[in-house]
């Protein structure tokens, strides 16, 4: 696949910010994986490595003072792209009181009401109506915002997706549905369980325009999202993006991912969203290899500090058990 990076359209700061956010996600996730191995983190831990360009490119097109994000359990990347503090995220993964959900949510349930990051949802497809409901609120209140709703290729067959698109259309809600097609729902390739090959067409049966986007090209993701957001903001209409991507790791930490070949994985590693973008930035003279290394080091330090912060933090006390059951 030949990729075009429209570098010349953007400021240096903007481009570097995109790259840095992607690197931070990569390093944060590697750290999380490592700490999972050391049993500092438990349960299901779904890493975002390989998909960084999706969250970073699309969330860059949002203004989180008025826009909203909802996503799945594979939520670390979105949380970081929303500007959440890596320390607070890692602390949540460790189950500490300093975590964003006070240690009660863990890896799958990252929330930040102020940054308009509305979770972190564990039940496949279940949050798609919630996102649609947030869009209903925006319309009802006459607010300018837009909702970005992320879900996987596995989630797209749930009734909740289809029911939501229909409602979004009949009520003209300002929402962008984003299917992160990383090609597998757990161990199942999407083609094995879908009657439709190209998901972006699925929106059309509800009158919602869809587009297929290269999820390894952060600028393409940004530009397509920008358009979808503009449509939502200006005309109050929904759209649907199928963003083709790939996860390098298993579904969660316990999945050895034997259902795919080494060759397939290597092929995608050749199209690494971070390396592709880095190379483009170097080619255009925006950064040097040394700049990249410095950024990478900085992100490693941030991730290490996050782990250290999590380690040093207190566990929630037993008295918190009955807190927050009801308002």
């Amino acid at each position: 696949m030949s990729r075009v990076f429209t570098i010349e359209k953007y400021s240096r700061e903007f481009l570097i910010d995109l790259l840095k956010k992607m690197i931070l996600i990569r390093r944060f996730e590697e750290k999380a994986g490592q700490m999972y191995g050391l049993q500092k983190i438990g349960g299901f831990c779904h890493l975002y490595i390989g998909q960084e360009a999706v969250a970073v490119g699309s969330i860059a097109a949002l203004d989180l003072s008025e826009d909203y994000v909802l996503t799945t359990y594979r939520d670390h990347g979105h949380a970081l792209a929303c500007g959440m503090d890596p320390k607070v995220l890692m602390a949540e993964l460790y189950g500490k009181i300093t975590g964003c959900s006070k240690g009660k949510g863990g890896s799958m349930h990252l929330f930040d009401v102020e940054n308009h990051m509305y979770g972190g949802h564990g039940i496949v497809g279940s949050h798609i109506p919630l996102a649609t409901g947030v869009a209903l609120k925006l319309k009802y209140k006459g607010e300018a915002g837009v909702v970005a709703c992320y879900f996987g290729d596995g989630a797209i067959h749930q009734g909740s997706f289809h029911e939501s698109l229909n409602m979004a259309k009949i009520w003209d809600l300002p929402i962008v549905y984003i299917c992160e097609n990383n090609q597998y729902g757990m161990g199942t390739n999407y083609e094995r369980i879908s009657s439709v090959r190209d998901f972006y067409k699925m929106g059309r049966s509800y009158g919602i325009p869809g587009k297929q986007v290269d999820g390894m090209n952060v600028l393409e993701v940004y530009e397509e999202m920008l358009q979808a957001v503009r449509i939502a903001r200006e005309s109050g209409l929904s759209s649907f993006l199928e963003i083709k991507t790939y996860r390098y790791r298993g579904h969660s930490m316990s999945d050895p991912a034997k259902y795919r070949t080494r060759e397939e994985l290597d092929e995608y590693r050749q199209q690494d969203p971070i390396l592709l973008f880095k190379d483009a930035l170097i080619e255009y003279g925006i950064i040097s290899e040394d700049d990249y290394k410095a950024m990478d080091n900085e992100c490693k330090v941030i991730s290490n500090n996050a782990a250290e912060f999590a380690e040093m933090s207190e566990e929630p006390g037993l008295e918190t058990l009955y807190e927050d059951v009801l308002a």
Binding site: I41, G42, G43, F44, G95, K96, S101, G103, K104, G105, G106, M108, H109, H121, G122, I123, V124, G125, S126, G154, A155, H157, Q158, G159, G185, M186, G187, T188, R192, I193, S194, Y259, E315, P316, L318, T320, L321, Y322, V325
Partner: protein, 326 residues
């Protein structure tokens, strides 16, 4: 006698029943090519092929309903819910269709289907993935509900469930899959609706089922060191409930503690507690005590999640209470 895991016992049951009856099929997420999210169906796809061991999309309401329709028309599907947490998406199918079909058709339709999967808390999974949801099913007439705690019971009960002409909810446990126990070679069945005395004792009856059985056994061993002999009644089936076995035990010991890892309100524990209070009133030397999970969603933090669930200490304390030792 061979010692096998709970997981293998379930697989053997499905394998034997699939070999015996071609109407038995297995469907669910990742059950075929991936051999099951928890490897319960290991090898079955290889053996029986894609026609009988069927990978579904992630559409619980859809494939649960498909199973029910197929059962109405004569197949005997086993529907695997990857975990029972996800069955909530399919509750309409279970409650409005599977449980009602025979009754509202005046007996014209049977729904011979098994819904099975891991229920109850595992570890570090937080509120949406760590729930003991048996009460939702036990509440519903038209369903049978089974929750075995040993490999032996799991195999014999799953075979009975598959042969049963009614919808059976079969509740397993993620943390129980690697539990080991004796399972004889060759076929045997355990009838649905029969409790089992897992330990005999004179001093107190502890009624439990599913994963807490281990906690209760540990507590009983500890109590024995202190001179208290507990009798453990493992319900195995929650609906129908073997009331006779419970009453017989309580009439012998005169004291009763019920241990249940679901929430306290309107639970199997509260129901058993009420029945024992009502039907063994004259025999009881103390009010029935319940040990349940705390009345909160499951927190992620490990210390908190352990504090939520029944523990050896909590069981011992409840026993001491019905014996007026605290």
């Amino acid at each position: 006698m061979p010692i096998i895991t709970y997981r293998d016992a379930l697989r053997e049951a499905m394998d034997e029943e699939m070999a015996r009856d071609e109407n038995v099929i297995l469907l669910g997420e990742e059950v075929a090519e991936y051999n099951g999210a928890y490897k319960v169906s290991q090898g079955l796809w290889d053996k029986y092929g894609s026609g009988r061991v069927i990978d579904t999309p992630i559409t619980e309401e859809g494939f649960t309903g498909v199973g029910i329709g197929a059962a109405m028309a004569g197949l005997r599907p086993i529907v695997e819910w990857m975990t029972v947490n996800f069955s909530i998406m399919a509750l309409d199918q279970v409650i409005n269709n599977a449980a009602k079909m025979r009754y509202m058709s005046g007996g014209q339709f049977n729904v011979p289907i098994v819904f099975r999967g891991p229920n109850g808390p595992a570890e570090y999974l937080a509120a949406q993935h760590s729930q003991a949801l048996q009460t939702l099913f036990v509440h519903i007439p038209g369903l049978k509900v089974v929750a075995p705690a040993t490999p032996y019971d799991a195999k014999g009960l799953l075979k009975s469930a598959i042969r049963d002409d009614n919808p059976v909810i079969f509740l397993e446990g993620e943390l129980m899959y690697q539990w080991k126990g004796e399972v004889p070679d060759g076929e045997y069945l355990i009838p649905i609706g029969k409790a089992d005395i897992k330990r005999e004792g004179e001093d107190v009856t502890i009624v439990t089922y599913s994963k807490p059985l281990r906690v209760v056994e540990e507590a009983a061993a500890e109590l024995a060191k202190r001179g208290i002999e507990a009798e453990i009644v493992d319900l195995r089936s929650l609906r129908p409930l073997d009331e006779e076995t419970i009453y017989r035990s309580v009439k012998k010991t005169n004291r009763c503690v019920v241990v249940d890892e679901s929430w306290p309100m309107v639970s199997v524990a509260s129901h058993v507690g009420w029945m024992v209070s009502r039907n063994c009133f004259d025999d009881l030397d103390a009010p029935v005590e319940l040990v349940t999970s705390e009345d909160v969603p499951m927190p992620y933090n490990h210390r908190l999640e352990l504090a939520v669930q029944p523990s050896v200490e909590k069981v011992i304390k409840a026993v001491q209470k019905v014996m007026y030792l605290v």
